[in-house]
């Protein structure tokens, strides 16, 4: 078990390094840097001026070196000009002697956002908090509902209840967030239909969450996931229900409800656990879409802003968070699966 965990962790670190390097490479291509120089130093500067601005700000060194600096494993660049030393790790007005040698993601220095004019770490911190709230409520709605639907549909395969619940789950997997969000807003928030039960934006939810402004975004994300998890639960439930020990229990005279609750459920819920964990990366997608649609300024919204405005350091920060979230949930789902499933655990 320990060896398995160690190997998984090692692969995870390697994957994270590769992914961040790819993102670093893609965000630091020459056209991006040129655009950055023009937005920082004036849009009418000549090509030579762009080059000298880039050299002065530490973008001139080879890619691998810059990646190392950003990561914090290479000493930050320093430049001496007219007796004034500037550098990656030297803040304005700081004595170069006292400045640290390394400053990168590993040291907690995530850089400065050019769009929001703030430290990347603080931006991501607050935005992640907002998204965390959204995710929490999504989970609270999605997990119980989908498990109940899956179990109800799977316990009597082929019944009317199964047919209708399965159709519902297929329909919900066929409705991406931008479709269900649009429909839900039109029905429940527009003046055309006139129901106006909820608000069409969630901007006010950033300060004060109410049922009225938060229900639609939560249900929009949850709806797409419900279908998928419910189908997985149904599949594993139907498989368990045909097992020998269930038949034995039924023949012994245990009531149907008891068989479902006490015998089948525990075994049927192993597979959905993995599925729910693996939903996280893909929930991230839903979060980006829904936050854009409902104008809820969380992590996903920040990612779109950073990517759309060539905010290199913020985008890098966002991708580090995204990659770490994805890899951690993968690890948890793997370990959890091994831990929950006795057949694998013992061998």
């Amino acid at each position: 078990m320990l060896k398995f965990l160690l190997r998984r962790l090692l692969t995870m670190v390697l994957t994270a390094l590769c992914l961040t390097f790819i993102v670093f490479f893609l965000t630091n291509l020459p056209p991006n840097l040129e655009k950055l120089a023009k937005s920082e130093a004036g849009s009418r500067i000549s090509d030579e001026e762009v080059q000298s601005w880039l050299n002065k700000n530490g973008h001139g060194s080879p890619l691998v070196v810059r990646y190392g600096e950003w990561l914090g494993v290479m000493p930050g660049w320093r430049l001496e000009e007219n007796g004034v030393t500037t550098g990656r790790c030297i803040e304005r007005g700081q004595d170069p002697e006292t400045a640290p040698k390394f400053c990168g993601v590993l040291q907690g220095d995530w850089g400065f956002s050019s769009v929001f004019k703030d430290e990347v770490s603080t931006i991501i911190g607050t935005r992640l908090g907002l998204t965390g709230l959204l995710m929490f409520w999504v989970m609270v709605v999605m997990v119980p509902v989908s498990l109940i639907i899956g179990v109800l549909a799977g316990m009597r395969e082929g019944s009317k209840l199964d047919r209708s619940l399965s159709t519902f789950s297929i329909a919900s997997t066929a409705t991406p967030e931008y479709v269900s969000g649009v429909i839900l807003i039109a029905v429940f928030a527009s003046s055309m239909v006139g129901l106006k039960w909820f608000k069409g934006t969630a901007t006010s939810a950033m300060d004060n969450i109410t049922f009225e402004n938060f229900f639609l975004p939560v249900i929009t994300i949850a709806l797409y996931g419900i279908g998928y998890i419910a189908r997985m639960t149904r599949a594993s439930m139907t498989e368990v229900m045909t097992a020998q020990y269930i038949r034995t229990a039924r023949l012994k005279g245990v009531s149907f409800g008891n068989v479902v609750m006490k015998h089948a459920l525990r075994n049927a819920l192993i597979a959905p656990f993995t599925v729910i964990m693996l939903q996280f990366p893909w929930l991230l997608n839903g979060v980006v879409i829904v936050e854009t649609l409902f104008n809820y300024k969380g992590f996903g919204w920040t990612l779109v802003q950073a990517a759309g405005n060539n905010d290199i350091e913020l985008l890098l920060g966002c991708s580090v968070v995204a990659v770490v979230v994805v890899l951690t949930t993968q690890l948890i789902s793997d370990v959890g699966y091994v831990y929950l499933n006795p057949r694998i655990r013992i061998s």
Binding site: S190, M192, L303, A307, N310, L327
Partner: protein, 391 residues
């Protein structure tokens, strides 16, 4: 001219779709008549769910095919009096109606949705097919040989899968990246796979009849190579191989990029599925029999393992077209890749969502269209799965 009520609108839309109905009826009558001779396709007509799914999918395919007959107005023509007008409003020149209303620029929502189906039906199945070629060509050897090759390829696939899709899209489709030609380089690699796949397929099968094999392989290499070069290259971009006069296929730059990124996102998943199935099938007796006969590895992979893996692969193919449709919509929704003028569903939803609380119909109509197509594909996949399990 008077405004139309909902009944009249429905009737007019039904009438507009007349060619599609005729084609649908012809397909269904012919298919049900000969269903016993049509293999898995024919069996589809034994399952109600499968038939419903197939009907919805074919409805959109025929709509895309006959879109020139179905549309009522030019998709780009703007009539300023028709901005955000309700469904059924007559046009000011008295020549017709905006059956499903006008959008924020005064264009006909109905015609745009019909025309938008063309974008999806053109890109989604082909992109999925390409993703399958890539996934199969890499997944078979990874599962069959195992070892280092498997470890390496699986690591790569997991790498791409760990990327949040939207971040990847933003990184691949932004103008700065397109300027560097990166998506085109990606296209060079990805589009090579179908040709490699076909060459290996033919070579492994007709290895014993070299004359015939050589002819077919040269034909594939020449035709495929020509199509390949004219597909990836475009005069005036970073990759320009053929001169303009020889360039057969002119794919607009942004469509190519959208296509490439969709293939790129889909292929690792296909790879994982194919690899998993191969791992399972290679332990079967008929594979051992082929090995004992002395068949070469690629023959076993492509002519023993692949045909026996077709059931789950066909089902996944249908599901994946639906997923690709969703991805295309996502790209449009974020205004990436496709031009804002384009009538595709994602872009139209994106344009309509800003006025959602005042005039929801420009966003709702394409949203429902997209949903129905994906739903149809999912139902079709479900029906196919049910029927293929019955064997």
């Amino acid at each position: 001219m008077e405004e139309l009520g909902w009944g009249a609108i429905t009737l007019a839309i039904m009438k507009q779709f007349l060619p599609v109905w005729i084609a649908l009826v012809v397909t269904f009558v012919a298919s049900i008549r000969y269903k016993r001779r049509l293999g898995l396709y024919g069996k589809l007509f034994d399952s109600t769910i499968g038939m419903i799914g197939f009907a919805i999918v074919m409805f959109w395919v025929f709509t895309a095919l006959f879109s020139d007959l179905v549309v009522t107005h030019d998709v780009l023509a703007q009539i300023s009096q028709m901005k955000n007008k309700l469904p059924g409003t007559p046009t000011p020149d008295g020549m017709g109606w905006y059956l499903l209303g006008g959008d924020h620029l005064g264009r006909d929502v109905f015609s745009r949705v019909v025309e938008g189906s063309r974008v999806v039906i053109q890109i989604a199945p082909v992109a999925t097919l390409f993703a399958f070629m890539v996934g199969v060509t890499l997944g078979l050897p990874a599962g069959y040989y195992g070892g280092r090759l498997d470890t390496g390829l699986s690591f790569l696939a997991n790498l791409i899968l760990a990327f949040p899709v939207i971040l990847l899209f933003y990184l691949l489709v932004t103008p700065e990246i397109v300027e560097t030609g990166l998506p085109q380089y990606l296209a060079i690699i990805l589009f090579l796979f179908p040709i490699v796949f076909l060459l290996v397929l033919v070579n492994s099968r007709f290895y014993v009849v070299p004359e015939f094999r050589n002819k077919v392989m040269i034909a594939i290499a020449v035709i495929g190579g020509y199509l390949y070069l004219s597909l990836v290259g475009e005069v005036g971009t970073k990759v320009a191989v053929l001169p303009n006069s020889l360039d057969l296929i002119h794919v607009p730059g942004n469509i190519l990029i959208v296509f490439v990124s969709v293939v790129f996102v889909n292929s690792p998943t296909v790879f994982r599925i194919v690899r998993g199935i191969t791992l399972d099938i290679k332990t079967r007796d008929y594979v051992s029999a082929a090995q004992t006969r002395g068949e070469r590895p690629w023959y076993i992979m492509l002519w023993e393992i692949l045909p026996n893996a077709r059931g789950p692969l066909i089902v996944d193919f249908c599901l994946r077209i639906g997923y690709t449709t969703i991805l295309l919509g996502t790209l449009g929704f974020f205004g990436l890749g496709l031009s804002p003028e384009s009538p595709d569903w994602g872009s139209t939803i994106n344009a309509g969502r800003k006025l959602l609380t005042i005039a929801p119909h420009p966003a709702i109509v394409p949203a429902l269209a997209l949903m129905s197509l994906v739903l149809g594909l999912n139902l079709l996949a479900d029906g196919l799965r049910e029927e293929s399990l019955k064997d």
